[in-house]
Symmetry: C2
């Protein structure tokens, strides 16, 4: 799969992943041995409290096709507003647990989750702050630097709009080192940055179909199809052929809140308020 | 169960947890709805590299008896040198994912895992550093304060001995607020502090039996029984009746490395080197 998958929805959506058919995608036939991971932000179930404070984080350095954790996730839909998943094709760093995306850190009393697709050449940023990589990937270094710089720019969790503006300044400083497609979430929003390949689709009731599928990944959204349902799916490669997947432009940073694309979405943009 | 479980072993041990028999323990018959969690430190498999950099972290706010994640762990032994588990009886803080132990943070490029059993009354330490609680428990506040103060005392990962000395100074400052039984690990060692109830046992080849069991928890160590195997198990209540469980004294802090008890273990102590 070699790809990123993100979801942002207005109402908690049950996302079920199925890792199968690894053999059919050219050039990536054995990459499923390179580890995978997924993080789900979870809310209290209490409508009044701030959403997405809790996070479930699953990583495995073994094949997603045979992993008992992946198998468990296939039969256990987790309801979430914000999901970040990654299947890793190891390019930099050994294949071990600490190098599996997504990475998780805490900042301002919120968990942050980050997954990266691409290569950053000779990227060794000054990490003098409070976030240090545990593994050896360029990706985790980029994540640590982003959080370090966010922490310098704001004293507490800023609004999604403010965060997006800050990220707009920070991200190009990393992207010039190479290919920097990434997904980032703090449980309140999902940010996506395209450097080479990243697509998204916005879905609103009535959904044209309830199942996204390609050879590698299947996202079961069958529970979701009410009038209030609205969600965004962001992936490296489009998962369906009959929907209007938008190819993000190189250098484009986009934020998704409440299942809508916000800010730099000049086309079908809608206000960030859900 | 209402209890902590920690394991520290010389060689990676497969620890399989079974959550059953919740109905038999007086006073705790329904606490299994209060969430549970477990963290496993994992090594590369490469003997040459530093152990325990990767961590697998599973938390669930639902019953351990019915949780699909707990079910998966029952059939999927994870090999680890250091394990910290907790089944939560909610006393402070709502029952939600962000309040489930163990908690995980990164410091000095290593993951740290912490679980607490007890109550800290009116404990609201000054958290001016880099670690903020995401949830609302006294336990996570204590963990954040410990890491904040460790970060002040050392510039990078110190030796286990140095860390133990620093913890010996810090822990009493929290323990005076109430009951502070905890387990802490950074993948290199397991620290246990007793305030009211905590027991440990040291096991060496040949083990008297290969299965620890009580009504609530079963730890399958059947793979472990070679001449090189040596491990320590730390729990709130002893799991077997035919072994020499040591009741830790109030205020006692103990470190386990390579399956041995170190430092303040004046009785059966052995050098920390494995």
């Amino acid at each position: 799969m070699c790809q990123l998958l993100g979801m942002n929805s207005r109402l908690p959506a049950s996302l079920t992943l199925s890792f199968s058919g690894f053999s059919q995608r050219g050039g990536c036939t054995d990459h499923h041995a390179d580890g995978w991971g997924i993080a789900f932000f979870e809310s209290d179930g209490d409508e009044a409290s701030e959403p997405g404070r809790g996070v479930r984080h699953f990583v495995d350095k073994d094949s997603a096709a045979t992993s008992p954790i992946a198998q468990m996730l296939r039969s256990y839909p987790i309801k979430s507003h914000n999901v970040v998943a990654h299947v890793r094709k190891a390019t930099v760093g050994a294949v071990n647990l600490q190098n599996c995306h997504p990475f998780v850190r805490e900042l301002w009393g919120r968990y942050w989750v980050f997954a990266h697709n691409g290569d950053l050449k000779d990227y060794d940023p000054p990490l003098h702050g409070n976030f240090r990589p545990v593994g050896t990937t360029d990706s985790e270094r980029a994540f640590c630097w982003l959080l370090q710089e966010l922490a310098k720019s704001h004293a507490a969790v800023p609004t999604v709009e403010e965060l997006t503006l800050t990220l707009t300044e920070l991200v190009p400083q990393i992207a010039r080192y190479g290919s920097f497609n990434f997904l980032l979430s703090n449980g309140l929003a999902l940010w996506a940055h395209a450097s080479t390949r990243l697509h998204y689709v916005l879905r609103q009731h009535p959904f044209p179909e309830v199942r996204l599928k390609d050879d590698d990944i299947s996202v079961d959204l069958s529970e979701l199809n009410g009038p209030q349902d609205r969600l965004a799916v962001v992936v490296t490669e489009p998962l369906t052929t009959n929907e209007d997947w938008v190819a993000m432009q190189p250098g484009e940073l986009r934020v998704f809140v409440g299942g809508r694309a916000g800010l730099r979405d000049s086309g079908a943009s809608q206000p960030l308020s859900a």
